[in-house]
């Protein structure tokens, strides 16, 4: 692995970690998503910075060129995150469906139980003058 590649990998994963930490600091993430991303960024940073570790992973997996192992690990994380978000989106879709149904049913019940709204009174021109508002322009 060339030094340039290693520097790039370290910079990229450190950048990812910084962005994640900043987002956590600004409370843009729920903790559970922050943890997933931080774990991902930390693992990539560790492998990029600590060459024996990456070489060990590559050897165990039978990968001749260690940087490929870095790509593999990163790709694995991406796949896991996507799966995680598909599950989250499905859950939110279901929950928002149920919420929309509840709101609609409650609204209908409320409308049904309220007296019908009194229609706004309309005045004919002569009446408008009588109540001192003058003719409609």
């Amino acid at each position: 692995m060339s030094l340039n590649f290693q520097l790039l990998a370290i910079a990229a994963s450190a950048g990812l970690l910084l962005v994640v930490l900043e987002l956590v600091r600004r409370r843009r993430f729920l903790e559970r998503y922050a943890l997933v991303w931080m774990g991902c960024a930390l693992a990539l940073l560790a492998l990029a910075a600590w060459r024996p570790g990456l070489e060990l992973v590559a050897a165990v997996l039978g990968i001749a060129y260690p940087p490929t192992a870095l790509f593999l690990v990163a790709g694995g994380f991406v796949g896991l995150l996507l799966l995680h978000f598909s599950i989250a989106v499905s859950r939110l879709t279901d929950q928002s469906k149920v919420l929309a149904q509840r709101v609609a049913l409650l609204e209908e019940r409320q409308r049904h139980h309220e007296a019908p709204p009194v229609p706004a009174r309309t005045y004919r021109p002569a009446e408008r003058e009588a109540v001192g508002r003058g003719p409609r322009p």
Binding site: D94, A100, A104, R109
Partner: protein, 257 residues
């Protein structure tokens, strides 16, 4: 669960409608005329064409979704309404005028005659002289589903995509808890089977659509077939949970945000 106002009748007609302002008024008037013992509830599934106003001025109660949930979500709102207000029977009628309200009487008679039935389904294909103008591709799809479903549930199901259905309290309770999302009719037959509820089909006449656009355009019918086939096979391996009271919430609804 609290009940709403006391209702004069225990029969409910649910009309799911998405941008059906052109036809919904006629459907409601026809329902009030042909089956006056049915309360009429329109589920306005986020329409943008004033379906709600037309339906209310025709004398229906309207549940309006804040946004479009699709036909499954709309019909499920009807089940929830029927369950909470203690209706004995609920019939589902399309808002586009395909279903002839006169035929509801036949569905009700069938269910009254056999108290073991939980769902009575109007089928286009049980009469010899049926003339239902639908494209060949869609008819093929319907027959494929009919073939598969008939074998799975062990009784003939001739028209599994028909939305003209009458439900009793047991079926209402099951479907208020869990009803399929996108194209629910076929899966609903399967769910009924897994809940050990009974259904029967009766022949009905259906009209060509009065207006509006079908929820299943020809471009989507391939997607529809694949999606429903997947649902059937998922149902076969029982991965779709049959939710009983006290169980965890179905599929994706578990867990927090």
């Amino acid at each position: 669960m609290s009940l709403g106002a006391p209702y004069s009748f225990s029969h409910l007609a649910v009309v799911p409608a998405y941008n059906e302002a052109a036809t919904i008024g006629g459907v409601i008037r026809s329902l009030r005329e042909q089956v006056p013992d049915f309360d009429v509830l329109v589920i306005d599934d986020g329409s943008t064409d004033g379906t709600q106003i037309v339906a209310e001025s025709a004398g229906a109660r309207v549940v309006r979704h804040p946004f479009n949930l699709g036909i499954g979500g709309a019909v499920q709102s009807g089940f929830s309404f029927a369950l909470e207000n203690g209706y004995d029977y609920m019939v589902q009628v399309d808002g586009d005028g395909q279903h002839d309200p006169v035929e509801i009487n036949r569905l009700v008679e069938t269910m009254d005659d056999d108290p073991r039935l939980d769902m009575v389904c109007g089928s286009r294909f049980l009469t010899k002289d049926y003339k239902y103008p639908s494209p060949v591709s869609r008819r093929t799809g319907i027959h494929v589903f009919a073939f598969l479903l008939s074998r799975i549930v062990g009784q003939r199901v001739s028209d599994p995509t028909s939305g003209f259905r009458l439900f009793n309290r047991r079926a209402i309770a099951v479907f208020a808890r869990d009803y399929p999302h996108d194209y629910p009719e076929v899966e609903a037959v399967l769910m009924l089977h897994y809940h050990r509820l009974r259904m029967r089909e009766v022949p009905v006449r259906m009209f060509a659509r009065g207006g509006g656009v079908s929820s299943i355009s020809s471009g989507k019918s391939v997607y529809y077939m694949i999606k429903v086939l997947l649902a059937i096979f998922v149902g076969l391996v029982r991965a779709r949970p049959v939710v009983e009271p006290g169980d965890e919430a179905p599929v994706a609804a578990a867990g927090g945000i």
